[in-house]
Subunit: 202 residues, 2 copies
């Protein structure tokens, strides 16, 4: 499996790439549909593969695991997050920087409905939630040097404090999205996030 090549227009170059992209979408859509209809744990990978028209073996070549079938590409997630935070102005505070990162990540969802469904599944399925939290923690470690550089302060304890601030930011995102889902998708997640940060720092 090769890295996907694209032309300057963003359209896939070869037939292979086009089929690959099509298959990927088909699998992703099928998975989200089945998860919504019958629940995550009640849906087997074999069923998704069957209904998407690929073999189970191929499905596992496209995605690293069942969890990846929801939420899609976490690499893109990571890229957007680190890029956004990296390109913030130097004089911006840590909290502003992290807020920008959160906003950028939230903007990745294609539609409000899709975002709601994904968050709903995530917060109601223990195994999914665990997986998400784990990935999240890896993002935190990625962000550590970036944030640490902005915090300055005394050397020895800089890492702890940076970790704490990043962890808090994500915890606020969790609290916000959870509440957003509980409220049926009313309002904006980022507003809830702001309220969370205010409550913590208040």
């Amino acid at each position: 499996m090769k890295q996907e090549a694209r032309t300057a227009t963003g359209a896939p170059a070869t037939l292979w790439d086009r089929t690959r992209q099509l298959a990927s979408r088909e699998i992703l859509d099928t998975a989200l549909r089945l998860f919504s209809e019958q629940g995550y744990d009640e849906t087997t990978v074999a069923q998704i593969a069957r209904e998407a028209g690929v073999s189970q073996r191929t499905l596992f070549r496209y995605f690293h695991g069942k969890e990846d079938l929801l939420g899609g590409d976490q690499d893109r997630f990571r890229q957007v997050l680190t890029a956004t935070i990296g390109e913030q102005p130097d004089d911006a505070g840590v909290w502003e920087v992290l807020r920008a990162g959160v906003a950028a990540v939230l903007a990745l969802h294609e539609s409000r409905e899709q975002a709601l469904e994904r968050f709903r599944l995530m917060h109601t399925t223990a195994s999914l939630r665990a997986g998400w939290l784990e990935k999240r923690l890896r993002f935190q470690e990625d962000l550590l040097p970036l944030v640490q550089a902005r915090m300055g302060g005394s050397g020895g304890t800089a890492a702890v404090r940076a970790r704490a601030v990043i962890g808090t930011s994500f915890a606020c995102l969790d609290a916000a999205s959870m509440t957003w889902v509980a409220g049926g998708g009313e309002g904006e997640i980022i507003d809830l996030y702001d309220e969370c940060v205010a409550a913590v720092r208040g």
Copy 2:
């Protein structure tokens, strides 16, 4: 499998209970030893069962899953946490209350070495970390009503803010324990925790 009965002195009543307790310890010790020696993912449940002298089937009757073999009984965890937080004076602030809960949970470890080894395994093994984070999130939901009652404030948004504060507290515990492990177990976790909270609220 029945609930374990104990006499007034705390000693197990029947022979069955005593053997059960012995088997439980044997399994737990074997698991921790093997995890330390060869890693969590590299250790199979079958191996633990074999070396502990029980069948695999019995092991799964004692513990709900492989994850429970590290960190032991999360019910006790939950009990201590909610009890400690519940019995804090009414005029104590949310942050003090949560700090007391964290301290009580940290005090549950039998020894410094055991705590260090557990945290080390937890923070270096992705699957374990995921499981821990998931349990943690369930604790957060348990604590939600207790904390929310203490925060008061305007009704509509009380839940979000309570979730954010609890999440932040746990995030600080994570940051503290991670840094503690990275430092080889130097100093006290609770001090690092305090520094984290200060950094966030500062």
